[in-house]
Amino acid sequence: MPDRAFGIETLCLHAGQIPDPATGARAAPIYQTTSFVFDSADHAASLFNLQTFGNVYSRISNPTVAVLEERVAALENGRAALACATGQAAEATALLTLAKSGDHIVSASTLYGGTHTLLGVNLQKLGVETTFVDPDDPANFRRALRPNTKLLYAETLGNPLINIVDIEALAAIARDAGVPLVLDNTVPSPYLCRPLDWGADIVLHSATKYLGGHGTTMGGVIVEAGRFNWGNGRFPEFTTPSPGYHGVVFFETFGDFGFTMKARMETMRTFGPALSPMNAWLLLQGVETLPVRMDRHCANALAVARFLADHPRVTFVNYPGLPGSRYHALASKYLPKGASGLLNFGVRGGARAGERFIEAAQFMSHLANIGDAKTLIIHPASTTHRQMSEEEQRRAGVAPDMIRMSVGIESIDDILWDIDQALQASAKA
């Protein structure tokens, strides 16, 4: 009997966890322990040599965290995953596994502000240089390639500009160059888009957002497709004995999950941004209902976008689900089930009117997060992107009067009511 290819709704509930062998518990147990006993000196040696699978220390692996890792790997149709303390930790862990001092990255300029700073400032300090390019023309990535380029980077659906990248075009450029395409898939979530199926090699998540979905818990995940040939000559760290892990050759020994093992045993083990078992468990509760929440987020966001497009106090609306959006064709191709819950718009009257809109909201929450079940609003120019110069903000797509909204799953009539009354208030000086 051939193995069944289970649907994503089933995988959200079952992937990565079977009833606990020790107790029969159906829900995933919380293994709140730092360490795990060895059966013998030989068992300990085998574990440290990676010759047998098992848990040693929860900074490296933990059975509750592993359920989340395998579940997200399954949702993304990937080979393996590594969970991290936050989305930023996932980015840093992935990038530090791929690039070292003297290497180069080509990244979309349209990024979450924290990622822009990680690439442009923090990794720069470590000797990894990033060229930022406008992703609307994928050829910009090709033009920025150098002999020492180690990866292409972009957000599937960029925050806060709400742009969509042409994944297949970027994957073709990455393939020709012999480097992996690394995509942050936080905003669509694997329910709306699976970048690995379109040719990406590594997907990153801030699980803090839609995967967790309730604004309770930080977390990040790195997923590997398992198709990239690390033996192509550009990545000798994968094909020669590892000085960071007593001589293991990660690609030869672990094959199609060699990247994940290298990230776990070298980068995570030594830098240490591990996810706690309790947080993994909380995120798992969110993942179980991801499909039903995402459908509602998409439906509500489309209704909000239509409402804003017709509103006299609104100067512009960006939502890829609107037929007038410049990204509508890419949304139809890559996000056929819906364009997620993020949108942005301009309030007539500029930055000051935007601030008045935010202050007038009744239940829409003014905070720096996205992907909560509750509706969230923020003014990026003065918050998430304030480390950037105005010129950098413009290149990242942040207009001075722009409001970013993460549309929640409240009653749609209530969301539209709160938006309307806040827009009316924004007009009163």
Partner: protein
């Protein structure tokens, strides 16, 4: 023949694994796989002319499959794809039950020959990774095992 039920049956029915091309070097994949299977209750029979007559993983090493004096279940092949056909013939000759070609080893003629002789045949998979995937362990390093089940495992494989 590499669906989950078939692989579970193969790894459940057979307890003796002849490892063709086993290295004595601890960080080679063949050593990793053999040591793991030994720790999980399988008897390993090393096959490598380089170490014939010497003990490897505590077991005597033989120059070829035909030199092994006891029955063999799985013939696990860590050799180049083009070298596998005679190994398949040897596996059939000694009455082995399974021809297992490791990741990257993909000799279709050898696979077909083994199947025609009534053996089970697995190609381009690692015996250690499949054991960890289907009986527990591989899930602890975040690998997508593709196992979906509401049945409690009856024994601990690790």
């Amino acid at each position: 023949m590499d669906d989950i039920n078939t692989l579970r049956r193969i790894l459940g029915e057979n307890r003796v694994i002849a490892v063709v091309g086993l290295s004595a070097d601890w960080h080679r994949p063949s050593y990793f796989a053999a040591k793991y299977m030994q720790e999980h209750g399988y008897r390993i029979v090393p096959v490598n002319p380089r170490y014939a007559g010497q003990p490897l993983l505590g077991e005597p090493c033989y120059a070829s499959l035909r030199d092994i004096p006891t029955p063999v279940g799985i013939v696990d092949v860590f050799r180049k794809t083009e070298d596998v056909l005679p190994i398949a013939e040897d596996a059939i000759a000694i009455g082995a039950k399974v021809l297992w070609q490791q990741i990257g080893v993909k000799n279709r003629a050898a696979q077909d020959r083994a199947l025609a002789a009534g053996l089970d045949a697995v190609m381009d998979r690692c015996v250690k990774i499949e054991h960890g995937r289907l009986f527990g362990g591989l899930n602890w390093v975040g690998v997508n095992t593709r196992v979906v089940s509401a049945r409690r495992p009856r024994g601990l494989a690790y």
